[in-house]
Every structure is written in structure tokens, then in C-alpha cells.
Subunit: 337 residues, 4 copies
């Protein structure tokens, strides 16, 4: 860590900051420039949580040298993590496509969708039983009945299932049905939910908060690993920017960046990332080309009748066409689909 | 609601959309332009939750005419809501300043801070017992012990207290100690927490999500009112933008905008909104000048020793100086402090 | 165009707005809802430039139905435009890679780079003679001497050249040397420069402003077409967002969106879009996968010695490796490179 | 400057970077941590323009210690700059309000507006003769005829005038009529225009780019001072964010921040910063409360008839009411209006 002192900082202020750092167990180096003194602190930054040197007199700013996360970092673990979702490996040589309806509506709807996306090459079934909704008057999902339908369709098709959990006290229930827990973008920094999910034996797919820095996303994943759950998949799903022509802006820079910084697998969600069905296939191709380990895509037998997210949902035919394209891209980057 | 059909939409597509709207109970008007047909739908948009016309063939986009919220709107209730926080009225002619430490650390720290901010003119005591932290290794707050300290200091000083609640299943516990529940920026769309808080008898201060539209903020407040809790205070606390010279960007446009759209009182948080102690007083002045009903400000006897948010925390002397300035501004806008 | 009247608008206000619209040559339809009246105006929105109905009493907002651009739109021209840059076709079945140094430094540097990128498959040479620099103390480029070097290297290699123009009164000079004019991100709404470039006989590559909506980018292109220059290439080069882990955020959603809305070819710039050499190849792959017609990439014989943009510049070996990957992706999407 | 080496950087890489820094005239200090070596470079960063150490092998990132601007900084000049605009002092104890129509339309319109805003307390007249327009089909302003009208109305009223200049080769012409040149938000990084304006004898008001960091805004001002023009006024006019409820987001944090970092006066533009007439007065109050030295506001005898920016333009009565409020705030912060 580097502490930059203000141009007019006094010797006394410099001495106090240096002493504080020594008290915290840091080695201290002073560099005196023409106008400013810079204090280098060598040691473990973790000690500093709960201390904020920027409030000390004479300090201009504190520049961290190391990333604030540990267990999720490439420095901690160099080889890529492969996450096992009910027998399907995410992060290995084969890319993994998760697909299904935004909301689970009925057994028939879910089974029809599952069979179609499976035939097209999807290997994990997604479907929402508990739905976060901007409006209190929106459809909230079927709840536990939806979880039962997921389990029934898994039974029929053999596809592992992923579904969202929204409350800390529902983690156990959802985990008893699902092969993978999903934590949604609005809950990325719901730290209480992260703490509970960290104690689950099921893997977790952690969506990036729509205004989260890549660093904050990895810190949220650190909650899961620090709490004991090392089976974590990252999911880039679009960030909020000034652009209004699309629902969100897919940040594909974040995929290779996250993979440089971390050993965790990364998937992308072009459905939410664009909000527009016509853009889903192009961005799915781009996601695999940029190096993602998989995709999560919304598909429905009749998007116009879907109870949520209709504008960004692919029909089953559109989904199959997208898979065809995605497979070509996967091969072009030396993977299979 | 206006449904804009694509340039090449067929008569059949136009007829299907019109029929769908009639089935949903809307009155339908067609306007045929040179290139496009526009369908006006007259009726209650709420019926449409769970339906997404944009996925119907031939539809280019759907333009809502009414705001999606109801109970929080000025159209629903024209006079301003005044919220009673333990006897202190927020939203009336007198502005209200809430102040205290980011984290509750000890009885002595809290009492010293409370007495000082009260002497300077603050009327509600803030303090965190449960702390959301970006890092899993950060100080998480004293928990229920912190709540007990808050209650003890209220007993000593007579100041009502506000503190954050982070889990649905803690709402009741926190409400048993606090005069007002705070829902933090990362939980603005934690819908499960909103549903629980809606059932509390205590008022709720709802911080704007750091990337939430004003419309989404009001929709989150709608959750509280729709669930039965009409005692809601909105809090603008800075949004995430590209600017890195400050921690967040205070969106003071949002204050008069929210007050045009809604009858709820609005306070501003210049501590989080700037992240820099030297900017807190200027933005506190601006917040009152723009029309806010109050402020929430972090203060501490020794900011450099604070266990969190030190860089943006005022010393007790700085706080008193700020109050002096804020009082002048309050008078200039015809209010008292 | 739809004019939404306020909830309490008077009959008189509605009548005035309707009359104003009729005076402007619009057909007018009224839809009266329970609370609001909506006025549909049918006709050519272009008449309305210079008129702002939102300021009329009783008007809540005006909703445009048609996109504000014309000549650049898919509706105006359905087939894709192919731009001829010194014999190289941009927008056809073969993707086009433009490469070269950020700044032209010397004949040797430029020739060595040109030969290497040409051998690797690039077909247009880029290089900056006039450099926009954030600091007034930065290297500003070699100016006309740089243009002469570009022409000399074209002579040697046969590669057409593209270079940036920054002042209206330099358009003619730059066009006398270059095969394609580049308008940079900071000048996308330098309307005086657009007007001059519109009169050039050379094609123009228009970079998206770093905070420009896709709609505004197309409006800037409309300046060029409206002024008579139909040979326009769009370039997505990253937008400004809250993310600080990369220099900009590549908005790959914008590529298929721009191609839906417009007939103009689109290329992407992964060098500026990421700001990090290690991310250039992944985003180049993604750009081609998403449907871009080409790439523009910074390469240099010794990036560490480059006079500008060193951190995002590929070495010639890295460039060749990237081309190898890009070619595979181009084939996977049915194109050649 | 601090150079952070990668975790696995070799001794040879560290030695090369150190040598490079010494060659550039820096003093060099090494701090070796458990995992990383950090190199402190002491000296004048300006030497480094045109060099990019981040591309050297083994370098993780470079952390600048000093701000990149000099002449505009508080460290260079501690007392506040006061700019003389035709006899009106901007940056002194009295706040200055500039007002007038967005576009100059006629002598009558301009004179009526000028007399009314002057009577209400405005001291500088604004009006656009050359208008930047998003659409090529919009009203572009009266050009030199508009400049003549400005001069004529100055003659009648005694008010100094400010107007926008858009092309480098028009600086002299505009300066021959105007008392202050305005550089608009889209031209903040039009470096060629800045270079010309730097040579004018007239003061310059530099609007912040809608996506410019405060640091970049000050760097653009540095162009003016470095080129010889020290009479510079900064203008915050709203930044582009995700919020769509207002046209832009006023960044009032930027006002005290810019004044901490720089000695230049700062004014705010609540008309463009909000885009909504009903929000102009609240944000004008907030701007003065936060510490701005003045305001620039759009006013028109009949906003609904204005040829541009009608939705955000105040009527002359609304302007007078705003001035009344602004005067109270000015007094509350110890200034006059």
C-alpha cells in the first residue's frame, strides 16, 4: 500500500502515519519528492480492514497495491476451477449452455422448453420459481411449486437445473431442489444471502451487479469462497450505462479481465445483457468468442405469451439457430459445445 | 399505452395486437401514418404486468403513458406526506438532520457523538449495528449489541434512532429497538426485505440504489406502501457514474424530480454521496437549497479512528460548522433547522 | 409523434397543441383516457426541428415515433453499403483489418509495422499524424510530415491508408494524402468538422463518441450523408462507464444494433475499447463474432517505446497471433479475413 | 510516480524499469514486498509525456502521484482567479448570473430578454449565434448576423455578452463581437479550438464535457492557460449518466472539487444540467449553495416559441422568480447577487 501525503504535510503528520502503519505490522519506506512524501507500506493489507488512513491528517490518498480479494485470485490458485453442476462441468474444454424460460409457468411449458433446448444442445435447464420484480404488482413466480416442476422435468430429461434464490432463509429449500443456486444481479451485494449460500453444498452462479466493478464482483465471490463454498460460477449479464437503445450494455471486456484476475469460470447472459431477442444470438457468439465458458439464455415456446422478459426471449426455433452458430464459434476457439 | 408497429407490419399483425389489447380490457385507437401504424391503448396499465407486447410480431416498441407507480405518486395523493420518527416530523416545515457514526463502536463513542450532534442541532441519531461490507473480511458491526447501545443512548438523550436492517428475518428485531428502519443502497431492490419492512409499524428510510432510476426508486417505495407501510422517507445518496474524483455523484436533480412525482419526503446523504469529508458541508448546503426535507450525515469524535467510512466522516467540530451553514440555507428557503 | 398531455391539462391547452400541430402540417388524432389525453400527430417529424412542443402549457412529454435520422437508416436503404477505401471494400463478405501504430514516428517504424501487419493479413494501414492529446504537454504527432510518410509507405506496400483529421480547415490537406479520413471519438459531434468532411471525396470512418447514444452516432453520420458523402464507416471504440478495470467498455451490443438501424458498415477498435494489450485479441474475436465488418488495431514493433497508447498496443508478433484467431472466427461466421 | 511490478517480475525487468526511470531524470526508490516490488520515481512527471511505462515487461501498473495539470492547479496559484468579462467580475464576492435565449432569433427577442433579465439581476447576456445541433436538419443559428444583434443589444443595455464559438477559424471573428467566448460541452476536447482560443485576448468559459472527468476538464483548461489565456471560467453543465428522468445529471460535487484542485472560477448551468424548466430554479439555488461563482440560465419571452431548448427555458417571469430565490441563497453563503 502506498500512502501519498499532501504537498504541505508536516513532519509530525508523516511520523504519525508511519507509526500507525508500523503498529499495524507493516514495514515502512519513505520516499521524499520535491513536493510530496510518499510512504510505502509493506505487509498484509487485510490487517487494514476497518482502518481508514485517508482520514489521518496530512494524507492525500491511499493507493492499494494488491487486489483486495484472495481466494478467488489467480495468484492464490493458478489453474482454472471447474464447477460440477449435477454432472455437467462448467469451466472445462466444453462450453456449457444453460437455457429455459424466464419464469416457470407450468409443467407442460417447462418440459416442452427443456426437451427442445436439450435437443438443440443446451445441457443445463434454467427457470425462475422466485422472481425479483421491479413492480410489486408483477408476477412473482410459482415459488416452491415451481421448484417441484423443475425437479420433475429434471427427472424426465436428465438435465441438471439452476434457479434463483432471493432470501437467506430460502437457501436450504432451493438447494434441496436445484443443482445450482443463482444469485441475481440485484442481490450481488446482498451479503446476508451470500453468507447463507456460502454454506450450501450446491454450486452458486453469481451474476454481476448491474453497476458493480469487476473488482466488487470478485469480492462478492470472495464471500462465497471465504464462507466455504468454492464451487462458484461468475456470470456477466450487462451493466447499466447511458445507452438506452438496449436494456443493458454487455461488458465483454469483463470476461477476459475476470479470467485474468480469477480462476473461476465465467458465463455470459446475452438475454438480459441486450434485452432484445434480435441481439441475443450475435452477443452469444461474441461471448463464446471472447472466452466465456458458457451461456445462459432465455427461451420459451411462445415468447409473446411469456409471463416475464418476453422481449428478450428466444423462441425454440431461434434458440436452435443460435446454438448452431455458437457451436461454430466454440470450435473456432478450440472448444466444443 | 402506445404500441408503435414496425414500418412493414401487416394488417393481420395490427389486428392481433389490437385484439390482445381489447382482451386485456383496453380501449383501442388506431393512428395510421405514412409508414407506421400506432395503436393507442386506453385503460389501466396495471393489468399488463406479466404481459409483454413487445414480443408480439410486428411490434416495434411499447411506450407507457403513465408512470408505473400509484400509491407513491402525486396524482394519488397531492399533499406532502409527513413521517413521524419517534416524534420528529420529517417532511414538514422544519428540516431534519440525522447524524452519528457510520458504525456503532461503543457506548462512550455513541453517547459522545449523540450529545455533540444534538447540541449542534441534529434531531435523529444514526448508527450502524449491521454493516454491509464489500469485503468479507471487513468489520460487520456489533449486531444486536449495537442495537442495545442505540436504545441506551436514546434513553440518555431523547433522540430517536435510525439504523440499517439487512435481512428479512431481522426486520422485527431491528424494529423493536429503532424508531426508523434504514434500507441501504445495495438493498433497494432486495424485494424480500421490502416486503418484510412493509409489514413493520416503524417508518422506513429507503436509500436510492446507486444505479437506480428515480422511477425504480419510487417503484421500490411502492412495495412498501403497497404492503401497508405508508411512513416512507426517500434518501438520495449518490449514484455511480464515470467520475472517479469523488466516491459517488450526488444526483440533486433527483430531489425536486422525486418531489414532483411523489408526495414522500426526501433527504440527502452528502457523506456517501461525495465520499470526501471536505465536500460534505457544501453538498449538505446544496441539498437543503434544492429542496430536501433533511440530511443524514456521518460524524465521529475522531474520524481517523472510525472503524468504517473514515474518509467521509466529519469530526464533531466540522459537523457543528456544517450545521451553522445549513441553518442559514434552510432560512433562505423559508424553512427552519 | 405522440404528445402526452398532463393529467390536469385543460381543453383549451389541448386545443392549442392540436392547432399548433395542424399548422405544422400534421394530421391529428386525439385519444382521451381516464386521466390523460394523448395527441397523435401524423406527418413528417423533420418539420418540427426548431420547435419544441414540450414547452407548451399542458404538455407532459413528446414521444417521437420515428428515428430522427433518414439517409443512414435501413428504411431509406435496405441493402448494406460497401465502402471502397483505396480498392479495399469495407462491408462486403470479407472482413477488413486496419492496423498500424497509434502515432507515426518515423519512416522506418511505419514501414516495418506496415510490412508486418500486411504479412499477417491487415489490408489497410492506420497511423496518426495529428494526435488529440488530453494534455497540452503531450506529443502531438508529426503533422504533415507524418502524412508524407504514410503516402511513402503506401507507395512501398500498396496498402491504402487511414488517418485522423482534427480541424475543419485541414480536411482537404489530409484528404490529399489519405485514402480514408478518420474522425475521432472526441470529434464525433464536432459538427463543423463533419460538415467539411461531408464535402470530401474520400470516405470517412466515424468513431462513436465515448458517451454518445447509438442514435446520436447515427445522427452524426447523417451529417456526412446529408452533406453529400455517402462513403461512411462506423467505428465502435468503447464507451465511458463506471468500470475502472479497463480504459473503456466495448459496447458490442451497439454493433448489431447499428446494423439493424443502418445500412452502413461497422468496424470495432479493441485497442481503445479495452486499453489493455492482453484484452485486444479476445475482443477482436468477439467483434468479428458479433458481426462487425472489420477491426482497427494498434500495433508497433516495440510497444514499450511507442510515443502514445503503449499499454494497449500489440507487438507485431501479438498482432499476427491475433490475426490467426480472427481468421478462424471470420470463417465461423461465414466470412473470410 | 509509483510503478507497481507484477507478482512474478524478474530482477532483470525491475532493473530495466529502474534504469529507464533514471534515464528520464527520476530519482528511484525500490520497496520490496513479500510478493511485489514497487518502484517510486521522484521527479517531474511532465518528462514522461510520450512515454508509457505500462508497456514495459513486468510492469503491472503505473500510479501517478501528482495531478497532471499545473497552471490551473491550486498548488501553482493559491488565490482565486477573478475573470473580468467586460467589466463584470466572475469569481469575486458577488455571484454573477448570465442569462438569455438559447438561440438569438431577432433583435426584438434579444432586447426584450436582455432588459428583463437585467432588471431581474442578471449581469451578462448569453445568446447563441452558432448552434451545435445533434441533427443536421436543425436550426443552426443566425451566424454573424446573430453576433451583430448581440453587439447591438449590448450597446442598448450595457450588458457584456457571451456566445459560443465552434470552429478554430471563427475564434477571431467571434472574439471581435463577444466579451467572453464560450466553448461548449461537445468541444471541451476539441484541442484545435482550445489552441486558438488560448490565443484570444477575450476570456473563455469552458463547459465540462458531458462525459469528462473533473481531471480532464482541468486538463482542457490547462490548454488555455498553457497557450497564454489565463482568463478562464469553468462551467459545470451536467454529465451523462444512466438516469433518464432528466436530460443530464448535474454534478454539483464537481464544483467544490474543482475549486479545491484549481484557482479558476466555476459557474453552473442548471438549464442544460436538468433539461426541465421546473427543475432549473431548485438547481440554481443548489449551485450557489454549493459554492459556485455564478449561473448561466436560458430565458426567453415565450419558451414555447423558442427555436431550441424550449423544454428547459424559463419564461421571463420564471427567471425573475428564480433570481429572487438565488439572491437569498447567495446571502446565506455570505455573497451578494
Amino acid at each position: 500500500m502506498i500512502v501519498v501525503m499532501r504537498a504541505g504535510a508536516t513532519e509530525d503528520q508523516i511520523a504519525r502515519v508511519s507509526q500507525r502503519l508500523r503498529d499495524l505490522g507493516f514495514g515502512v519506506h519513505l520516499s521524499r519528492g520535491a513536493e510530496r512524501t510518499v510512504i510505502g507500506a509493506i505487509g498484509d493489507k487485510a490487517v487494514l480492514t476497518g482502518v481508514d488512513l485517508e482520514a489521518m491528517q496530512g494524507v492525500e490518498r491511499v493507493v492499494p497495491i494488491r487486489q483486495p480479494f484472495k481466494l478467488v485470485s489467480r495468484e492464490f490458485r493458478t489453474e482454472a476451477t471447474v464447477v460440477d453442476v449435477g454432472g455437467v462441468l462448467v469451466g472445462g474444454p466444453q462450453i456449457v449452455v444453460m437455457a429455459g424460460p424466464c419464469s416457470i409457468e407450468s409443467y407442460e411449458q417447462l418440459l416442452e422448453t427443456a426437451r427442445a433446448v436439450q435437443a438443440a444442445g443446451a445441457r443445463i435447464l434454467r427457470g425462475g420459481a422466485y422472481k425479483p420484480r421491479t413492480s410489486p404488482y408483477g408476477f412473482r413466480g410459482l415459488g416452491e411449486e415451481g421448484l417441484r416442476l423443475l425437479a420433475a422435468v429434471r427427472q424426465q430429461t436428465g438435465m441438471p437445473v439452476i434457479t434463483e434464490v432471493m432470501r437467506p432463509d430460502q437457501v436450504e429449500l432451493v438447494a434441496s431442489y436445484a443443482d445450482c443456486l443463482q444469485i441475481g444481479t440485484r442481490n450481488m451485494q446482498n451479503f446476508e444471502l451470500l453468507r447463507e449460500a456460502a454454506q450450501s453444498t450446491k454450486p452458486v452462479m453469481l451474476k454481476r451487479g448491474m453497476s458493480a466493478l469487476v473488482q466488487e464482483w470478485l469480492m462478492a465471490a470472495e464471500y462465497l469462497l471465504a464462507g466455504g463454498n468454492h464451487q462458484v460460477i461468475l456470470c456477466e449479464r450487462g451493466i447499466r450505462t447511458f445507452e438506452t437503445g438496449t436494456r443493458f450494455t454487455m461488458d465483454l471486456n469483463a470476461v477476459p479481465l475476470a479470467k485474468e484476475l480469477s480462476h473461476l469460470p465465467v458465463v455470459v447472459d446475452p438475454s438480459h445483457g441486450t434485452g432484445k431477442a434480435s441481439l441475443v444470438a450475435p452477443l452469444a457468439r461474441a461471448g463464446i468468442a471472447v472466452g466465456a465458458d458458457g451461456l445462459i439464455v432465455e427461451a420459451h415456446p411462445d415468447p409473446a405469451e411469456a409471463l416475464s422478459d418476453a422481449a428478450q426471449t428466444l423462441s425454440l426455433e431461434e434458440f436452435a439457430a443460435m446454438m448452431h452458430q455458437v457451436r461454430s464459434i466454440a470450435e473456432a476457439v478450440g472448444r466444443s459445445a
